[in-house]
Symmetry: D2
Subunit: 135 residues, 4 copies
């Protein structure tokens, strides 16, 4: 299954060159993941905190074409790997049929002290169901 | 040669978990690169715009340990490759002796229409001198 | 008439104290105004730029209670005054029945050189209709 | 006494109109206040949290002229009133001799539950000394 997250490019996202300032893309990606946890995993970030957290351990991103103010972006996210306390996702953002960025990242589930801790059973089950649908 | 950029972790950088929100790291990296262009290449971004721009084409980042409010970070940046219209840099941020993140990114020099265009001779010469010092 | 803009408090909005970092409220207010121009005035910001712009000339804000991660905020915006090239709006954000902030601001319509310039007739007409409904 | 905080206008601060996006000014003001607490009051924000916090209760700002990428801004801050658990400050930002914004805001010292609580004696003493120098 693929999770879709829609985001219009707003004034706040754009730089003097009139295109999205690249750190703003990472806010969009974070919003996409936060919405996925809320709507698909039924485990919104506000419930995970402050018992734990899901920090990003690594992220690789390629920006294939610039996005301009007013563009309607669709972020398509998939879960690609699930570890004991980690998960890898890929996300591709596009406008109409043009790809704008593709990113692969690893999240880690940590406890309140920041140490990696196994996914709770209910989250793990939903992550796996979502990933398997994507195969 | 290695360019050093200092950044204290401020209130604005931190999330409810009390650590740096990862998109904020990309703002810090952008500030580091902007300061490098200003102080080392003597070509501040405000002079490059609006004749051109130096958008980020790709960036890979690994977050090795969290940074907390008040930490004094040092970003150490090197130029690792220079193409006709592109440059690759690596940057490692650490606090005391602990590494916090390491990132490798590619910048592209574009003209006012967004198309890749060769580095001006003076910038290229300085990029090369800076890179060779790093070897 | 009152324009309503909904915004869930997301992870990116919150500070180490677990509440909305106040500069983020101004991004939300800007998003609210941008959406109002798009949906009510049918004049999205991306069409106003680069012919002109609508910078904020002044803004007064009182934060009556903190907002926490996960809160569902409703911003209720009204046009309160219309000048030749300016407009004043008020916006109140609340969660459930609790007020979180109230703000009054003045926008100025400027041309591409930044000088104040009269509202285009179509925008002015809609601003007035919207304001009159609020009386 | 007046506290001075220097901030060059960076790429990240600017919008498609090439001027500072106004919510970014509030980040700069917050950075100014945070640096004042650190350098003048010797009570950095990272020591106040998580025992307490100093949220902004209200802020009024007038933007007198736009700031452009590369401008060197100086924020001049004064403490104008001190209450049991609150403090009012004014800040004026200018570039060369041109005023860019003037802001007046009220901070409240709160405990870990968010309730107003008297300034610790050492902070209060320094706030008063700083204010009296300004008279």
């Amino acid at each position: 299954m693929t999770f879709e997250f829609h985001q219009k490019v707003l004034f706040k996202h754009c730089d003097p060159a009139g295109i999205v300032f690249f750190p703003r893309y990472f806010e969009m990606i974070n919003d996409c993941v936060e919405t996925y946890f809320d709507q698909v995993l039924c485990k919104p970030f506000e419930e995970i905190h402050p018992v734990g957290a899901v920090p990003t351990a690594q992220i690789q991103t390629r920006f294939s074409a610039p996005s301009r103010h007013g563009d309607h972006l669709i972020f398509r996210m998939k879960i690609t790997k699930i570890g004991r306390s980690s998960a890898e996702y890929s996300v591709v953002a596009s406008c109409a049929q043009e790809e704008r960025l593709t990113s692969v990242a690893t999240l880690v589930h940590v406890d309140s002290k920041g140490g990696p801790t196994a996914w709770p059973a209910d989250i793990r089950k939903k992550l796996e169901a979502f990933r398997d649908d994507a195969l």
